[in-house]
Symmetry: C2
Subunit: 157 residues, 2 copies
């Protein structure tokens, strides 16, 4: 896939731009972690990224991976997405898009056509809340879990 490589390159450039504009150092850790995150489409957890970069950055601290991912989110380089499981998952795609979450196995995939779901932002519906963006979380059962659900309990694999 060439789109993959292009996306990675774009994210690396974005990382440099943001760091330079805010006076933050571009560290090896940030570069490698961004490379790892941008190369995945499965919205990994911090620990999954840690396992992935450990062989590439011998001696990385788990703490650093958590911190770097949080920093990406704080500076708009990545998104933290909320799932029903009790752990944070990250997404290098920071522009608006929507997700399909399997209620059975927890898998989260991107919705291919996000432009079909453009809705207007509510105008401060409760008074003071300033609405900036939104994300739609579709819930359902993925292909792999549909077979399983026929065998017994519908939820909780």
């Amino acid at each position: 896939m060439h789109g993959q490589a292009a996306f990675k390159k774009q994210k690396q450039e974005q990382l440099h731009t943001v760091c330079r504009s805010k006076g933050l150092p571009v560290t090896v850790q940030r570069t490698v972690i961004m490379e790892a995150l941008a190369g995945r489409k499965d919205h990994p957890t911090a620990d999954q990224i840690y396992e992935q970069v450990k062989p590439l950055l011998s001696g990385v601290s788990r703490t650093t991976v958590y911190r770097v991912l949080e920093a990406f989110v704080a500076h708009g380089l990545a998104q933290k997405i909320g799932s029903n499981e009790a752990k944070a998952r990250f997404d290098a795609e920071a522009v608006r898009h929507h997700h399909l979450e399997c209620v059975c196995c927890g898998a989260i995939v991107d919705l291919p056509d996000h432009e079909s779901y453009d809705i207007p932002l509510p105008e401060s519906p409760d008074g003071a809340f300033q609405v900036l963006d939104y994300a739609i979380q579709f819930k359902g059962v993925c292909g792999g879990c549909q077979g399983e659900s026929l065998k017994g309990a519908p939820l909780k694999h």
Copy 2:
């Protein structure tokens, strides 16, 4: 508020109905935990509910609170909502509605007019995924955090 009391009563009746129809006992713990959850609009975590019911049910186990809340979700009596924080939050309102989440302090409030945001469910957009429902997560800054953000860092209170 009278709507509050009516909602609590409705949830208690729903609890009885569901338990009876499935042959499950209606325990004191379930009753008190439902009462606590139905009385809140801030989408509390399991531990917050635990702290709340501890004085009312002397000797409750934290494990029980976690289990009962999961049971509510499994039987459609409550919803587990995914936030950007790495912990599960619960909502006694089980019918479809949407949320406003403050990216600064993490507060989650219900969107008053959820009927304005009816969108069609995608027809298995990636092939095998069976879409059942959706929830829109609006992101923004709540009233309390707008003042804070003027003072310095925009994120992370």
